[in-house]
């Protein structure tokens, strides 16, 4: 039914980490390369495998089997950077492609329908273009779902439309490792349960899988049964959500770009969140001053500003590396006329001038997180978000405490679902802080504290000059003081004029039975709290 719709071409470079390591260290294609991660081989290129190196070997085993092999430590950044640079050739050929992981990319086949006559032709065009450009070996795979296409690419085969379920059911259960690192634990369990193929697993009832293995189990079950995963099916695209940043001066520095990208990413995610959505794929566009631009779509599992910034950095580094050699030449000989690639030289000289982040795929969040022990938290969230929508985010406040002497300072009201940022440490000692009972409301109202003869009461470090008799409010209303506490001064930060605090505090009880907290600063009495 939806075979036309989601039919996907996946191109993968076998043993990508080994290929990337070879590129990174400038090793020729004929030499064996093994990549270690956590002391174990995770990838080895064809010559190394021919020498007997397999995944899971340790460094010593590699040395025994193939002493001349180059052993590199896995470098995720290099993986991403080189791949992102290498697939630049695709940009001229396809409208949209997604980098699933370093070494693997997906292209929706319907985007190729207009440029290529059939699937085989499309694959041939793309693969030959990529191989010409990079010299890497690409394995194509076509199937009705992205997951099946990834598996098909591992075997370089094309699954006929509608055959995807049969194809998947014959695959061994260990292929679930492509679903993510979390699946490793599940694979062991499935093997113990006697489930040898994806078909065995897919035949289990979805409810049972969901009950036993939770949301991730259901996700894996969907993959194994050839159903498209929820995020792709739930794709919501009400409007284009994008953020843009024009740089003041062109830059080629990846740390500057990473820093800017983090802020920009936070802006975009905030924008997405305001729509009540979740972003699962992001398109990063970079504009060079010379007018060229680079655009990539990345799929990020845990979308955060940091992960966005990393992707942007990788993309920029890969792109800039394309013009790295001419740039080095031009620095040494700025007046050289026989520059091999003037356009590349221009661009690398100027650097990147604008960044753009576009939320490429938006989905609705599965639901607000609930705690098992809280009653109707989801409804509370819904209600409070509705109120925030009506009255602004700052209208719904949750309480928190921070350091300080007076209630006005210890108050930390934070808008609902925002991270509380205390300005003052609550664990630091606050000598002179107010003890319980404390006022219930915080005020800031200039008042006059008058003695019996009508003069203002002065405060000295040793105590009050006169007995307070009346409090006059700005409205002109007065209240007689029936009782008052001792005054106690606070002096802090005298070493720093910015933070210097000197004030005297006084609790009074008025003839109406009200208790008030007063404080004198810079010669003026303030009503700072009410016991009400």
């Amino acid at each position: 039914m939806s075979d036309e719709f989601s039919r996907t071409l996946v191109l993968t470079v076998p043993d990508w980490p080994a290929v990337a390591a070879a590129v990174e260290h400038g090793i020729g294609p004929g030499r064996p390369v093994a990549v270690l991660h956590g002391g174990k081989v995770i990838a080895a290129n064809a010559p190394a495998r021919a020498a007997g190196i397999t995944a899971g070997n340790n460094r010593r085993a590699v040395g025994y089997r193939c002493p001349e092999a180059h052993v590199a430590v896995w470098d995720e950044e290099a993986d991403n950077r080189h791949f992102s640079a290498g697939v630049a050739a695709l940009e001229d050929l396809v409208a949209r492609f997604t980098l699933l992981s370093p070494g693997t990319l997906a292209i929706p086949l319907d985007s190729l329908r207009h440029s290529c006559a059939d699937e085989a032709g499309a694959v041939e065009t793309l693969v030959s273009a990529l191989v010409d450009d990079t010299g890497w070996e690409f394995f194509p795979g076509i199937a009705d779902t992205v997951f099946a296409a990834v598996l098909a690419a591992g075997q370089a085969r094309r699954v006929e439309p509608g055959q995807t379920v049969d194809f998947l059911s014959a695959q061994p259960i260990t292929t679930l490792e492509y679903a993510g690192t979390e699946a490793t634990g599940l694979i062991e369990v499935f093997l113990q349960l006697g489930l040898r193929t994806l078909g065995d697993f897919a035949r289990l009832a979805a409810e049972d899988v969901s009950a036993r293995f939770g949301a991730f189990g259901r996700h894996v079950h969907d993959l194994a049964s050839g159903r498209e995963t929820v995020p792709l099916a739930d794709h919501v695209r009400g409007e284009q959500l994008e953020v843009e940043l024009d740089l003041d001066a062109p830059t080629t520095r990846s740390d500057t770009l990473g820093f800017l990208a983090r802020q920009l990413g936070a802006d975009l995610l905030a924008k997405v969140r305001r729509q009540g959505l979740v972003c699962t794929q992001i398109t990063i566009e970079l504009d060079a001053a010379a007018g060229r631009s680079s655009s990539r779509t990345w799929r990020i599992e845990d979308m955060q500003e940091n992960s966005i910034a990393d992707r942007l950095r990788w993309q920029a580094e890969g792109w800039l590396a394309g013009g790295a050699a001419p740039r080095g030449d031009s620095r040494q000989e700025p007046d050289t006329v026989d520059d091999p690639a003037p356009d590349v030289e221009d661009f690398s000289e100027d650097g990147i001038i604008a960044l753009r982040l576009i939320a490429a795929e938006l989905t609705t969040p599965i639901g607000a997180t609930r705690s098992l022990f809280d009653e109707n938290t989801g409804q509370i969230t819904h209600t409070l978000e509705r109120l925030q929508g009506l009255f602004g985010p700052d209208a719904v406040l949750v309480p928190g405490l921070q350091g300080g002497w007076d209630p006005a300072e210890t108050n930390l009201w934070t808008p609902w679902q925002q991270a509380a940022v205390p300005e003052r440490s609550p664990s630091a000692p606050w000598p002179g802080a107010l003890h319980a009972p404390r006022p219930t409301t915080v005020e800031r109202l200039a008042v006059d504290v008058l003695a019996a003869d009508g003069t203002s009461v002065e405060a000295r470090p040793s105590g009050l000059e006169a007995t307070p008799a009346t409090i006059r409010f700005p409205t002109g209303q007065t209240e007689a003081v029936t009782d008052y506490s001792g005054s106690w001064p606070i002096e802090s930060g005298w070493w720093d004029p910015e933070r210097a605090v000197y004030r005297t505090r006084l609790q009074v009880v008025t003839d109406t039975g009200r208790a008030l907290l007063l404080s004198k600063e810079h010669g003026q009495w303030y009503l700072t709290g009410r016991y009400c």
């Binding site: 409804q379 009255f391 949750v398 405490l401 209630p407 404390r438 007995t467 609790q507 208790a515």
Partner: protein
Amino acid sequence: MSAAPVVEQLSREMGISTAAALFDQIPPHPVDPVLSPLFRRGGLPRGELVTVSGELSLSCGLATIAAATREQKWCAGIGLGEPAVSSIADLGVDLDHFVNLATPGEDWLRVASILIESFDIILVDPGFAPSASERARLLAKIRERRMSLISLRPLSGSTEQIEITDTRWSGAEHGRGRLQSCLVRARSQTGAHRFLLPGPSGTPTSVPAGTLDVPAETSDAAAGVSTTQTGTGDAETADDPRWSTITQLRQVISHVG
């Protein structure tokens, strides 16, 4: 056909309940043991409007909700200005289950009607008195959701009224000490009460034996509350929930007939 679904539907839609169910339907929200004598059923009634008025009404309201928030009940404050978080915590409120709405005073009814949907308790200082029809709708919604609304000003339609009549702060000693505690006299449907709010630790505390003599105003307390608060003049019946049910039944009958 059993009558139970019909009764359930009536009670949900119109607030009509059987007399037996009225008193033992749903247990009230728990309150601090010091404050529980103020309430007829020993706790904050659900599905009803309670008013707390007088000096220190905010402290009293916060102290009332404290035990419920510690049992994971959500509470919201409307129109309270900027409450001091330290005193909220002192009064025993679980800060993780308290939300303060800094909305304009004239919107309190609208905000409350949204919060009623999911919150267990709302503490409100109403910015204006609702009209009779707004009040009826508000009360119906409170009853339907089985939540508690505490108003810090007298509002008609309330089933329990707590009025703080006298506050006496101690500890200041005319410049020699600082405020320690406040002796509060309050009147409610259950009579006159004395307790310390806030006590020396900030939480409500019962009065230590033999501290101060209470003036003999217990006898006129209950009657005084009824006449001042309900304003209907019919003191015996107006504050009885059964009476309001009967009134509503009559209204329904007159509507239908």
